[in-house]
Structures are given as C-alpha cells and as structure tokens.
Symmetry: C2
Subunit: 246 residues, 2 copies
C-alpha cells in the first residue's frame, strides 16, 4: 500500500525533550539510534505522527512508549523544519517538552526503540540530527518560564520542602539562589499548603508542602500574573551550580 500526492510532502514527526529531576540532578532521557542515519548516536525520543492523531497525542504516545507513563505534563515547544535537518529527506518535527519526577515514578528507561538512558544534563553526548539545537531551545524555554512563574511542580514530589524546591530552581537557573529571599517570595505567593514536618533528618526538620492548584489558578486567572518569580537579587551570580551528580 502506498500514498500518492501531486506535490511532495514532508514527513511529520514529534520529538520529545524529557526533563527529569531526581532530587539532585536535572536529567534528560535519550535513546540510542538502532538504524541508519546516525546509527549508534543518541537522540531525542520521537517518531512519526499517525494519520489521525493529534500532535499532542503523538507526543504523549511517544512519552508513554519511552517512560511507561501516561498523561505526562507536556507543552509544545517549537517546530523545526529546515529542509536538510534529516539526511533521508524532509522531515518536519514538532518539539514537545515534558517534565517528570524520577522518584515518584521509578521510570523505566528502556524501550522497544533501542537503548534508552537518562543522562545528567551537563554530561550529554553529542546528538543526532539537529537535536542539540532542539534541546538548547527547550532548556532556554524552561529557564525563561521559571523566571516569571513558578513551574516545575511536575518535577517535584507531591510533598516537598522549600529547600528541595530551591535546589530544583538552582539547577534550572544554573545559579545558587538566596535562601532568604526565595523563601519569602514563595510564601508570599500563597500557592503552597503547609503540611507536617520532615522526620529523621540530622538537622532542624523542614516543613513539607504541597502545591495548591486552586490558589495557583486564581493567581494566573485573576487577570495578571505580575510575578517575576525568580528575581535578580535572588540569584547569587558568583556561584554557578553544576547540575551536581551526587
């Protein structure tokens, strides 16, 4: 069976940039290509969009295939369509990025499509196609979003401490964050519900919090989010953070 058109048509794919967070490290899920163009190279997971499939659903399907998890948080990133981005011919790819907490799910990183592996964000191999560029766009987007609204609750566990939240943001921003001012800002926003305290830690136990979606929705819906969430004085710019891999 085959399909014939009057004019040439590009193939349509989705590529997924999957950000994972294990509490210490920002990671990216990559797969090793089994077949020819760039065989053996690492690449972003992705694949062809089915004829009757929503773009978003295609992304979710690929994500489920690679991680085993349904209904991940995804957002459309950008569409990449340079004529020569794939040596086999023209392939237009819609990029989606996903956020996932690696402790909550114990994500399998293997799949039908060859080897899959989580990489530390600062130890990425070189990638197939234009995937380094795509990844770059995704990371910049993540950094930008984090500046003007608190996101990434998909990356944190259900219950988390402010320190854990701060550690995540430090990794995304690439800078240490002023503890005092971060705490103040988060509290003032009022989108966290305070729960019980931690136990069994060798220091003063921190309060646990959970994300209050109601309050968050109010904030964004109520006309205006006049938040720059991460402000300038919050960042300790002399102290860069590596995506520490302890």
């Amino acid at each position: 069976m085959s399909f014939t058109y009057k004019y040439p048509r590009p193939a349509l794919t989705v590529d997924c940039i999957i950000f994972g967070w294990d509490g210490q490290n920002l990671k990216i899920l990559l797969i090793q290509r089994a077949n020819d163009p760039f065989q053996g190279h690492w690449a972003l997971p992705g694949g062809f969009v089915e004829p009757e499939e929503e773009l978003r659903d295609a992304a979710l399907r690929e994500l489920e295939e690679e991680t085993g998890i349904k209904g991940l948080f995804v957002e459309q990133l950008f569409t990449f369509g340079s004529p020569d981005r794939d040596p086999r011919g023209r392939v237009v790819s819609v990029g989606y990025y996903a956020l996932i907490n690696l402790n909550e799910y114990e994500v399998k990183a293997s799949s039908d499509a060859g080897d899959a592996r989580w990489f530390f964000f600062d130890e990425l191999p070189s990638l197939a196609f234009d995937h380094e560029n795509i990844l770059d766009v995704a990371y910049k987007r993540l950094q930008a979003k984090v500046r003007y609204e608190p996101i990434g609750f998909e990356l944190l566990p259900k219950k988390f401490t402010i320190s854990q939240m701060r550690a995540l943001y430090e990794n995304i921003m690439g800078y240490e964050i002023n503890k005092r001012n971060f705490h103040t800002k988060v509290m003032k926003l009022g989108i966290l519900r305070q729960l019980e305290r931690q136990t069994d830690v060798a220091h003063r136990p921190a309060y646990l919090y959970e994300f209050d979606e109601e309050k968050y929705k109010e904030l964004t819906d109520s006309g205006f989010k006049d938040l720059l969430f991460i402000t300038e004085g919050m960042l300790l710019k002399n102290k860069k953070t590596t995506h520490s891999k302890n």
Copy 2:
C-alpha cells in the same frame, strides 16, 4: 508528476497572522477564499511550504505576496495539526505572526490569491478552518509578550511620541493606561532616544523618540530582563478600550 510514500503524509502549510497598526487601530489582514473549502469565507493568509524552503522563509514569502513587503518582522507562534482542521484531508499548519506599521509602508491589501482586506480587530468576520482559534492564540501571545517586555516597535513609525506608543499598548491590552506611570517606566528603561518636538499640533507639542536598539539589546542580553513592562497599576481596569476605528 507525482510523489509516492509508503505511509500517508499530511500537507504542510504556514498561516500568517498579520497585525497592523495605523496609529489608531489594530488591524488584521485577511484574504477571501476563492476556492472551495470555505469559498467566500475570510481566512488567514497562508499557503504550502515549498519542498526546499525554511518554514520561516515560507512565512516571509506569503507575507510578501500579500503585503508587498520583504523582511517583515515575524515570529513562530504555534503549530496546529488537528486531523480534522481541514476538510480536504490532513493539513498541519505552522502559524507565524507578523507586525507591521500601516503608515510607514502604505500596504497594498490585494493579491493574486483573491481579495485581501484589512479588518479592524474588533470587527472581524467569522473565519475559515480553525483560523479563529489561531488568531486567538496569536492575540493572547501578543498580549503576553507586551506584559514583560516592550515590543511592537515594528508597529510604530520610526519617530513616535510616548502618547502614540501608549495608544498602541492600550489597544493591545484592551485597557486604558495610566499616563504618568507609563511615561515613567518607558523613560526609566532608557531604550528611547529623544529627538525634536512635534509641530503643528493644537496643544503642547510632544517630544518625538526613536527606538534605541543598542540599549535594548544591552537590556535583554545583560542577563535579565526583570521587567514587567506593563504593570498592574498602570492599567485603568474600569476603562476598557475598544479598538477604536476613527
């Protein structure tokens, strides 16, 4: 001549949302469809992406065809790919939005592809396909961008007054803007070069300004734009602006 593939492929188009500003009104360029699906309906200008063409170039080409202007400001908006968005079959469309000052160019609004016309933003007809949705996404994006950085210098003439700039933002935001606070903020940013004054107006002549791209680049490059450009107290929320069509 024809092209045959093993699997079905969607057609790939670009659609352009062209925002125009004539000094008083926000407008949108639409074309009237000459052919069958939605014949006679108004639609966003757009068309197929050529086999060897960058997506962005396709958008620029369409824009030139419709407006006669090369090198307009464009930015990728979003990609729309619902399987049923076009009754002829699957068509995936990459949306681009453009900004253009209607006085500077005296834009022709006719084209080979049937009738083209500028519509007042608040007098839009119903549109073909899912173009109302696309337009909605574009307008929301424009509003969002304007919140956290001063954009739209493409919409203003080379030399403009602060009042003209404010009028533009009032139209985009849909609210009147507090004159004092807007003025203060714009001045503090330091991205405008002050020029001579207006002449021949029946009131105190305003200073003309031009956009200082250098300073603007410094601002954005220098790490952080901690600007919410349009702040809450700037807007007079009781006073909505229609996109006044005088």
